[in-house]
Symmetry: C2
Subunit: 375 residues, 2 copies
């Protein structure tokens, strides 16, 4: 039996949105889902219990590149994989490491075989290839693995993107062939093709032949204007097999999440909610609140009156501002819990809206409160 | 009715140790007790729930100097005091701010009226006096307040210490007169006198006349050799009124805690357990473990097999080392929980040992395991 079974419970009648459930080795995941990012085997500042009990997280993301360097695969193997190592008994998705090694710029060299790079920490020479990425992810033991791809930078030429996309298809083919542990780990394909629709179409056609249990859209939300993001998102998502989960990588602002779900995306991840938390910023339904600002110094309300999270149940904006101003870790913790819970509630609300066939109305209402102009 | 009622349940027959209970506005505190330090309205990295449920803390310490500067007393007043501000419903003890302002060195000027100083943060001119310290602690709303004293630096001359001690007595007299809220906040006196026994004796005699509900020993554990510490501790503690709680300020190593309890001390505090946690060091019954060291990279045991804390129940040394090496906040959190729980368990064990009249045996056994030579 394969590691993943995906049931679509309902499709929205006016948009591409779907309500679903992914059955995975470490429990069920309701979709659309937002995945908190746990780069180094910890969702920054939080415990697994906080993720389960306060955020209501069922699936987190781990970064193959970072875990490959630290703690390294010798220790990961001896620990019995990432779930045991970090004390997390729900699902984990790992990326392939591709995005991070390509981001190293001058520190890496791409060949058909794979990517040679220098560790951003030690300068030590390392190598990642499709086979190596799968091997590493097998050791990590993630429930969903990602195929090794190249994410072409925004602004790359047609020629570059075409070559890169074709090589990505060859690399993903090698990943598929190399991955044996299919009963415990589902390997997803990643569509590339930059901002060229014919290349996106070709990428989808080639990858669909490989029959991955799920597909990601890579290479967007990489710095382009919002119109271009939406254009490629709306073009690509519907090309993907309907009965399989669709994952949009690296998206975490409320409006991008909403548009992704409307376009038919089932999964998203981003470091944004925890990163802005550490900088002293909170999500709220009325837009972002820069809690570190002086205006909150004597504001004794919770971040959001209607939020059910630990932070909003117990602490005021004034106290959290004080913590952030004093660089106290608890400030980052409290905002991380709230921001992740905020996005989880957004996904819950969207699942409910799909169920009741009112997703577009939900979007309009959300945008009005949040201060985002609808197109 | 006064804020504090102190019952001594049992005295150890072979040492000065006492088993007691302090009845305070925010619940009972079993003594001897160790108080975690929450400098800026947060015990660094932890939530109140973690302190209550995992560490089993009944009393924490807050720093008047730091809270006076941040968030400042305007906000503290509007928040309704520190308990409400920081979401802590158990007891709080505040120091007087004296120790911190004297530590400012060139930034402060002492007169009979009080201490003028510059904020270590903004450079702004500020003033603390006996009356001001009491006023600030009244706003903070701590259950136990400390009188404003001068802690003379280690190595000060007899003349300096004598003058300083005498002024301290005058200042504490002013504190006592100024403090009105005695039903909700117990004001403790602080004995000074440096390392001169006659001055210690004189300080105790003068302060006992003021009839404080509890007494602290200040001005030791300030950098002196252990023999001198023990000498003054053992000389001073028995001079204090037997029926009142005795508090030794700024002590947090296991051996100092044990010797303090044996000398008849009921309360101690220190930043040590949380500070060394952030540096990657853990207490254990076999001595300190520098978890960040390479020797723990593949050590998949808990910090202490027999510890009942959240950290030891769920995480390995290898994982915590990985977190610390990666500067992940969760590492400091997990070690802070363990180190505070370790000292709380030490106090629990000593309370049990006093009950069973075997405190000296407990000490010998503890020292043997920990690798401390008994005198």
């Amino acid at each position: 039996m394969p590691a993943l079974k995906f049931d679509i419970l309902k499709k929205d009648s006016k948009t591409g949105a779907r309500l679903g459930i992914m059955h995975l080795p470490h429990g069920d995941v309701e979709t659309p889902v937002f995945m908190p990012v746990g780069t180094l085997g910890t969702v920054k500042t939080l415990t697994p219990e906080e993720l389960k009990e306060e955020v209501k997280t069922s699936l987190i993301l781990g970064n193959t590149y970072h875990l490959f360097l630290r703690p390294g695969m010798e220790i990961m193997k001896k620990a019995g994989g990432l779930h045991a190592f970090m004390h997390w008994d729900r699902n984990i998705l790992t990326d392939s490491g591709g995005f991070q090694v390509f981001s190293l710029g001058a520190l890496r060299k791409i060949t058909e075989e794979g990517v040679e790079f220098r560790s951003h920490l030690s300068g030590e020479k390392k190598f990642l290839s499709p086979e190596k990425s799968v091997e590493v992810q097998n050791i990590i033991g993630s429930d969903i693995m990602m195929a090794f791809d190249e994410c072409a930078p925004y602004g790359s030429s047609y020629e570059y993107v075409k070559n890169s996309m074709e090589r990505t298809t060859r690399w993903e083919t090698r990943c598929k062939e190399f991955h044996k542990n299919t009963e415990k780990q589902a390997l997803f394909g990643i569509v590339q093709g930059g901002f060229f629709k014919d290349l996106r179409k070709k990428s989808v056609e080639d990858l669909v032949k490989l029959d991955f249990p799920g597909y990601a859209i890579g290479g967007i939300s990489v710095g382009e204007p919002k119109e271009e993001f939406l254009d490629i998102l709306r073009y690509t998502a519907p090309l993907l097999p309907e009965e399989k989960p669709r994952y949009l990588m690296g998206v975490g602002t409320p409006d991008y999440l909403i548009e992704a779900v409307i376009a038919g995306v089932d999964m998203c991840d981003c470091v944004l909610p925890t990163r802005i938390a550490r900088n002293g910023t909170a999500f709220s339904k009325y837009g972002k609140l820069v809690i570190r600002n002086a205006e909150f110094a004597e504001d004794f309300r919770p971040i959001e009156e209607t939020c059910d999270c630990y932070t909003c149940r117990n602490y005021t904006r004034a106290y959290i501002r004080h913590l952030i101003k004093c660089n106290e870790v608890l400030g980052a913790r409290l905002l991380s819990i709230h921001n992740l819970r905020f996005l989880e509630r957004l996904m819950e609300d969207m699942r409910e809206a799909i169920k009741e066939d009112r997703l577009l109305e939900f979007r309009d209402e959300f945008y009005k409160n949040y201060g985002i102009e609808s197109e």
